[in-house]
Symmetry: C2
Subunit: 151 residues, 2 copies
């Protein structure tokens, strides 16, 4: 039963330093994005234009934090704010072309890092890994209130 080893590896992966290291590798060279604003930008890319509240639910942040990081990304020219036509209280956050470019750059970097990290495994192993990882996540992680998409 390799449960003990899985536990140790997951624990290592979650160590603050290792998490920050991975985020730094992803965002290095992308101006205006760091390890704290990355989830906001990435979430916006996944969800499409969304309000700060919805985005906050999606990535598990407080909505005040989402607003502040959105402001930072806006000042960096990666995100824009626009009034919601249906609800005058709401503000829709969207990616600018520069923001889309930044997301694309980081996605490419992530896939390249992953491809290299998985290069010593067989395709069947990788497929099994992905399958179990998905189940593990479904069991470990609380579902966001938004619910429709997490991946």
């Amino acid at each position: 039963m390799p449960a003990e080893q899985i536990a140790a590896d997951l624990g290592a992966l979650l160590l603050r330093g290792n998490r920050a290291h991975l985020y730094d590798r992803l965002t290095e060279g992308v101006v205006g994005v760091d390890s704290t604003t990355y989830p906001v930008l990435s979430g916006l890319a996944r969800a499409g234009p969304a309000t700060a509240s919805r985005l906050a639910d999606l990535i598990g942040l407080d909505r005040t934090v989402a607003t502040r990081y959105a402001t930072r990304l806006e000042q960096a020219g990666l995100v824009t704010r626009a009034a919601d036509a249906d609800d005058a209280r709401a503000t829709r956050l969207s990616l600018t072309p520069e923001g889309r470019q930044a997301v694309q750059t980081m996605r490419t970097a992530l896939e390249s890092i992953l491809a290299e990290a998985l290069s010593t495994s067989e395709p069947e192993e990788i497929e099994t890994f992905a399958r179990v990882l998905q189940r593990l996540l479904d069991a470990l992680v609380p579902a966001p209130p938004g619910a429709p998409l997490r991946r």
Copy 2:
């Protein structure tokens, strides 16, 4: 090609909120340990008696932080300090019986959580998952736990 889904799942796992949620599940009910001191206690359990500097290297923290958290754990009665016989500058950190008990409790909790999260997967799948995860970690993480450390 499940690389994209792996990337998304890993990203979700590393989200600050999800990481904190997992740590909270582990440490809930264990007095004197929280999501910040958990890695220190866990690292001490893996490494055995160690100095603050060595422990800091092991878990990727600054040594000033390791010292402060060790003080907190000491005040909670989970860790003791003792002079190093070989080096008068050094202080050796050790687990108290209460500290060992706390580690055991958290390990059991982690294994139980994992066992449930993996209960829908076949043993062969889990074995493959563990194998690929290990390779992934070796490639992704700068200094894996258990590696030789600088003094």
